[in-house]
């Protein structure tokens, strides 16, 4: 049952990679759930009057919900691109500063 050193290292590295993938998957699940929950809330506020006359979604509410989801996703994507551009900009400035410092 003696383990050669290299194989042990590999084993540890594999376990680390697995733990990292697990944490990342966990974070992605949470991020997705957060998006969904906020969308549910936002579209409920936009489309469902708080009078609750009946249990069903009526025609007008249903159409509103469909459009609301589409618009929400659109907003999500647009702001995502903005954030990405901002991140790249910040990185470019940082790199420029590091070059000037060198």
């Amino acid at each position: 049952h003696a383990q050669p050193p290299m194989s042990l290292m590999q084993q540890i590295a594999q376990q680390q990679a697995s733990a990292d993938a697990l944490r990342q998957a966990e974070q992605e699940m949470e991020a997705m759930a957060d998006v969904f929950n906020r969308m549910v809330d936002a579209c409920f506020k936009k489309c469902i009057p708080s009078k609750y006359h009946e249990s069903d979604l009526n025609k007008g509410e249903s159409v509103c919900v469909d459009r609301c989801v589409a618009k929400y996703m659109d907003t999500h994507i647009k702001i995502g691109k903005k954030l990405q551009a901002l991140g790249e900009q910040a990185q470019a400035i940082q790199e420029q500063q590091m070059q000037q410092a060198a």
Binding site: A21, A25, N37, V40, F44, I48, D66, A70, I77
Partner: protein, 100 residues
């Protein structure tokens, strides 16, 4: 999500995590639903128990929220599928294929 690097043990952990997450989400849904329907429907504080009018309102509020939430879930999934297809087709602008 790239789960190919998971060990067998972590795959099991993943499933457990998923079920715990689901449990937690259900709890959160439950609690937020109570808060929402209570806030919108309980309007009379001259009595200690819910009036029949308040109770009806709470029932409709909960039903409506379930249906709303299910509908948002369906649309969300559909959009996710469209977005994935677009990404595979080489990152075309998302808005272009979503008009009307």
């Amino acid at each position: 999500m790239d789960l190919s690097s998971l060990t067998e043990q972590d795959r099991m952990k993943m499933l457990q995590l998923l079920s715990e997450k689901q449990m937690k989400d259900t709890m959160r849904l439950y609690n937020s639903l109570v808060e929402r329907c209570f806030t919108d429907c309980a309007l009379d504080f001259t009595t200690r128990s819910l009036t029949s009018k308040e109770e009806q309102c709470i029932n409709k509020c909960a039903d409506k929220f379930f249906r709303h939430s299910a509908r948002v879930g369906q649309r969300f999934q559909e959009q996710q599928v469209i977005l994935m297809q677009q990404q595979q087709q080489g990152d075309q602008p998302a808005a272009a294929q979503q008009q009307q």
